[in-house]
Amino acid sequence: MKRSQVVAVMLVLLLSGALAFAGGKQEPQTAGGQKVVLRYTSLRTEDVERENRINAEFTKKYPGIQIKFEPIKNSEYDTALKTSLETGVGADIVILRSYDGGRQIYDAGYIYELGDLVPNIQSDFTANSVATWATEDGTIYGVPYFGSITGIWYNQEVFDQYSLKEPATWDEFIALCRSLKQNGETVLAHGTNEQWVLTETLLCTVGPNFYGGEKTRQALINGEIKYTDPRFVKAYNKIKELVEFFPPNYQAIDYVTMQQMFMNGQAAMWIAGSWELGVIRDAGLEVGWFGPPVEKKGDRMQYAFYADLGLGLNKATKHKDEAVQFLRWVASPQHASLLANELPGMFPPMKVKFEISDPVALEIVQIAQRADVDTTGQLMWEKLSRQEPSGETLQLEAVQKFLNGTWSAQQAVEYVQKGLDTWYYE
């Protein structure tokens, strides 16, 4: 009995010791050799095939370099990115969110400054988009990748069926919605269950025409006006007018349901982003698009066209030269064309001309180039969301509670202002 007990104890100790080292060693990075593989992480899991086609073009031009596209689910991306950069296992090329989202990554020291490495950023991209990934003193840390436009999709078949015209003013738009509803159609594929939709594709899409668009946004950032300004209350009340055209039980409809409803032809219109065009094309739906309706005829349209995502270069990369080559290629018109055509609805914010083959995508971007249109961005993304309680979080809650009828417009804007008062308006 004695010896077997000792053996048993030793076995237990041995096994537990083995467990401690059972983690396994990390695979060493194989540098050198034929192919350099650059890891490229993103939050667009829906683009895997398209990105691979785009990046294959790069490999054709530079045969020694292969791009491995590794997207992570949108809602996990920020956490995964920060963790991977902190622990040194981040990808070589990383997608950066706009403004403070990307700024955080730069401030933490994870990415290179790109002013010298990719010299044509300043000259070839729109000023707004360059500023989205640059510090106040002009240090650029991200290549603007693509911009999004938000507006109103409509089902071409439904419009043809009722011989409807694209509305230019708000009253025309409401009248159109009313007539569709009377004919028994589901007018808008909308719900209030998911918060970000309410600000990004509702308030800051049709709202800007009522709160004063880009000028007001700048005034808010500069502290000239407060969020409790009557302009915002007006915009809130305007979007409330659309709630009667939402499907029944809209409070439980989330983003994916909205998307699927429109894709399946179950709703006539959908106020959403240009980025949906890829999914729409895959679903084979015939669609049209119009910009947000203005208040009265002759008003300038405030069109939300904002740089959404940029690319950064991980300081911990082991293939700096190859990664720089890739980024330079991304900042070229050749890539811009590829992107615009492979990912219809995403628009590289380049000043340089590039080809767009999809007619609807062309239509979307041409609205931005009209003389009576100003482009604007999301209200809270620049500077106002730098700290908690961020303007965006406050706004998300306010719009949701307002549209659900829990709060009045006044209560909603006061809540946001109160939150911002705790840190922004010192």
Partner: protein, 300 residues
């Protein structure tokens, strides 16, 4: 001599598990408590703020709104799950310990949902309750109960109860297993004695089962309590990490996730604040467990 050998033997067996447990569980908890005294946006918070994070959570706008909201939601969630999962589980356990054909089959059947992953359960129920094409509404319509249809996951008053019912359905197997084991463990003599005295089923439950199963009720309650207060996945899969709608399903887990790691729309994160929240969670759960242990202690 024999005592010493047994003691060494025991230590040798306990030491590996104790070491691993300390390194991977105790130390991180202590480290987390240390982080709660700091703030910062990196993975490791670096600015010392003392108890500032705790003060923030309890007093500052809008953090205190979120904090007391999640506290309230967690308490409500726990109560609702306790009733629907444990009380109902107890009833089922009593039924499953009566003698009838197929008894063993039903015992296994009730445990099948527990084998499913929480995310899967959440997503499936979310689809079932979908207002546009979910089968639940369709079923109500076919039964002529259209008037009862609501935006299930969109109504702030209904969302949390629904989440508790889903959780209860998912985990009802656990109290059933515990209680059936406990009831089976009660010596037959006592049951026989009760029968001879002419006790009814309800009487049997009240006078024999409940008192004898008190420690097991305690364990089940504690497990439910710990699980509910650290709940995250069901909220994540059914209502996003924001605790939609209108923060009605926001619980400690989701609030912690948003605070410590940031979210899609708002990448500002504060690991220190999250750690403070986690420490508070730990304290609440710890106190709660002690409380339940005390009141369900078997009087010997």
């Amino acid at each position: 001599m024999r005592q010493r050998k047994i003691r060494l033997f025991l230590i040798a067996y306990l030491l590996p598990a104790l070491t691993i447990y300390t390194v991977f569980m105790i130390l991180p908890i202590l480290q987390s408590m240390r982080y709660s005294l700091y703030t910062g946006t990196g993975i490791r918070p670096d600015q010392f703020v003392g108890f500032g994070n705790y003060v923030k959570l309890f007093t500052q706008f809008p953090f205190r709104l979120r904090f007391f909201n999640v506290l309230k939601n967690n308490v409500l969630f726990f109560i609702m799950v306790s009733v629907s999962q444990n009380v109902f589980g107890f009833v089922l356990a009593v039924l499953l310990t009566r003698r009838f054909k197929g008894r063993r089959f039903f015992r296994s059947l009730f445990f099948v949902p527990t084998a499913l992953s929480v995310i899967v359960v959440g997503f499936v129920f979310k689809l079932i309750l979908n207002p546009v094409w979910g089968v639940f509404d369709r079923m109500l319509r076919s039964l002529g109960l259209e008037a009862l249809i609501r935006p299930w996951l969109g109504d702030p008053a209904l969302a949390l109860p629904i989440l508790s019912l889903v959780t209860a359905w998912h985990f009802v197997g656990i109290p059933i297993i515990f209680f059936t084991a406990g009831i089976d463990g009660i010596s037959d003599d006592i049951i026989e004695a009760g029968r001879i005295d002419g006790v009814s089923v309800w009487g049997e439950v009240r006078h024999i089962l409940l008192p004898m199963l008190k420690p097991i009720i305690g364990i089940v309650t504690i497990l439910t309590f710990v699980g509910n207060f650290s709940e995250f996945e069901i909220v994540y899969s059914m209502e996003t990490v924001y605790g939609n709608p209108e923060y009605a399903t926001d619980v400690f887990g989701s609030f912690f996730y948003r605070t410590a790691f940031g979210t899609v729309m708002n990448n500002v994160n504060d690991v220190g604040l999250g750690a403070a929240l986690a420490s508070i969670m730990f304290l609440i759960i710890f106190v709660g467990v002690l409380f339940f242990l005390r009141i369900t202690r078997r009087e010997t």
